[in-house]
């Protein structure tokens, strides 16, 4: 019940991250840390609707894309990139509500199918719409400083990603201790029984989906400000949606630390395998990464954190 261990763990991560941001100067390492935090945020965002609420989304990249495109549009129109945070969140939430409203109350896989369809639609729309940069995307003009949300070094980006990660983890800790969190878990376990104790499925899931979309959008803003170049393949593609879902599944669906663990495995594994076996265009790295994912899925279907939680429960005798 108590949130204290989680808060201490989060505090420790923030301190370590700040030490890295201010102490390290190796761009490669800082880039890894930034990527790791960003994926952890995206994984947690996915976890709200797909983990806690149990509706698997295969289109989460479009919410990430909402933030990234909001950022690009603001900057190229001479507006502050800070404005992209609320604007992207608004667009992402609206998209989530439109996708979720007709599908989140349905049984079966309609929701997952709808997310794929809407994601494909959004990607095509971006690819063909002049004011969204078509297939070329956007290059953000170079600037510097907190007002422009751009920095010559990577340290401040790591700090920003750390702030976002901490905010998302705190929100999730709060979710687990809220009526909404209990209701989502109940709905995932048994929707009929959930209705019998007064839970409004569509309302709860729409709220979760909207929050989920807004978190992903915030990550998108940060990503655009970091890479200063966005286009449909780097922000909206199905491959990104699948990466996000994989992180959530590998780490452990519906757990507080699952997405962070999944992101760690994803970034370390993907980079390590790519360094060792990648290059030369042979694609061995992808084969090996895929095999590892399959192994985790086959041996530990509850993911890394799910397995640990189960082991703890067994020790306490919660499971006969």
């Amino acid at each position: 019940m108590t949130a204290k261990p989680h808060l201490y763990a989060l505090g420790a991560i923030v301190v370590l991250g700040l030490l890295a941001a201010f102490g390290l100067h190796e761009a490669v390492v800082l880039d890894l840390v930034f990527t790791l935090l960003l994926y952890a945020v995206l994984g947690q965002s996915w976890n709200w609707i797909s983990g806690y609420a149990g509706n698997i989304s295969f289109g989460h990249a479009i919410f990430f894309g909402c933030g990234a495109y909001a950022s690009a549009l603001c900057v190229t129109h001479g507006l502050s990139p800070w404005l992209a945070i609320p604007a992207g969140a608004l667009a992402a939430a609206a998209l989530a509500l439109v996708t979720g409203f007709p599908t989140l109350g349905l049984r079966g896989h309609y929701f997952s199918i709808a997310t794929i369809a809407v994601a494909a639609l959004v990607e095509t729309f971006a690819r063909t719409t002049p004011w969204l940069g078509k297939a070329n995307g956007f290059e953000l003009p170079i600037a510097s400083g907190w007002a422009a949300l751009q920095f010559p070094q990577k340290g401040p980006y790591v700090v920003l990603a750390l702030v976002l990660f901490a905010a998302v983890q705190l929100a999730t800790i709060a979710l687990e201790r809220s009526r909404l969190g209990y209701y989502l878990r109940a709905l995932r376990a048994n929707h009929a029984a959930a209705a019998s104790v007064g839970i409004d499925e569509r309302r709860c899931k729409l709220i979760a989906f909207a929050w989920s979309a807004m978190m992903a959008s915030a990550a998108g803003v940060l990503y655009a400000q970091y890479t200063l170049f966005i286009d449909p393949p780097s922000t909206l593609a199905l491959a990104i949606s699948i990466d996000i879902a994989l992180i959530g599944v590998v780490g452990g669906i519906g757990t507080l630390w699952g997405p962070a663990a999944g992101a760690l495995v994803y970034v370390v594994l993907a980079k390590a395998v790519a360094l060792r076996f990648g290059g030369a265009g042979k694609g061995y790295d992808l084969v090996i990464y895929g095999a590892i994912i399959c192994l985790i899925a086959a041996l530990r279907p509850y993911g890394i954190v799910g397995t640990i939680v189960d082991a703890l429960r067994r020790r306490r005798g919660a499971v006969a």
């Binding site: 109940a186 009929a192 007064g198």
Partner: protein, 249 residues
């Protein structure tokens, strides 16, 4: 005593199948009413229509003087009707305490208050020691107890129990009857479906018998077992043969 629940002409069709075809029943406030009938009579369907899980095709369901037929399932709980399922529907990966807390959150939005209320309900049904067990790791008897606790935690005025005794050993049945008496003493009105009449006989003031989707009897349990139509419905009826023999032209 005015009726807490009044059902009139309740009908439910699934395609061309008439699962319910005119169910009438009254449940007096503070009473325990039994709903019985042979297999396939439509007991569970009637329950589902009253609880809002199914929309009735026709008829009225009046709860506390208010028409609730066709109200969305999740709103019925908020109006004050709790239920259990014939086949237990637990929140498998929640602990016992979490599941009951989920019920308590309906009237107590703050988690702290809901947990406190859930603890109280668990003590009442006798599940306190198993509060940290997962729902899926319980015995059948405990799962049924958990369902009752979860429904009670929503603080219903009317509790619908669907075969809570089925599959229990005689000792577990006695415990369940004892729990039922304490639930009534708490001021909760109970409507329970039972397939087995003997279970209901000693505790139900009033029984309603349905057969083939229709109410065929309404009265005391003692009268029910002497009623010709009830016996006919249950036994496929030697009486009918007798009637035919006696009244043959």
């Amino acid at each position: 005593m005015s009726a807490l629940l009044e059902v009139r002409g309740l009908a439910k069709r699934f395609g061309s199948l008439r699962a319910l075809d005119g169910v009438d029943l009254d449940v007096a406030g503070g009473s325990l009413t039994g709903l019985i009938g042979p297999n396939g009579a439509g007991k569970s369907t009637a329950f589902a229509c009253i609880a809002g899980a199914e929309k009735p095709s026709a008829g009225s369901v009046c709860f506390r003087g208010r028409e609730i037929a066709g109200t969305a399932y999740h709103r019925v709980a908020a109006l004050g009707i709790g239920r259990t399922y014939q086949l237990v529907q637990t929140f498998a990966d929640m602990t016992v305490l979490e599941a009951v807390t989920t019920g308590a959150l309906l009237r107590r939005p703050r988690l702290r208050d809901a947990v406190a209320h859930a603890e109280e309900v668990l003590a009442f049904v006798g599940l306190s020691e198993k509060r940290y067990r997962l729902g899926r790791a319980l015995t059948i008897a405990d799962k049924k107890r958990l369902e009752v606790a979860r429904a009670l935690a929503t603080e219903p005025a009317l509790l619908l129990l669907d075969e809570v005794m089925a599959g229990l050993t005689p000792a577990e049945c006695r415990d369940a009857v004892d729990l039922l008496r304490r639930i009534l003493a708490r001021g909760v009105t109970v409507l329970m479906v039972e397939h087995v009449m003997e279970v209901l006989m000693p505790i139900a003031e009033h029984v309603v018998v349905i057969a083939a989707g229709k109410t065929i009897f309404s009265g005391t349990a003692a009268d029910a077992v002497r009623d010709a139509a009830v016996l006919a419905a249950y036994l496929g009826s030697p009486l009918e043969h007798g009637e035919i023999a006696g009244h043959a032209p």
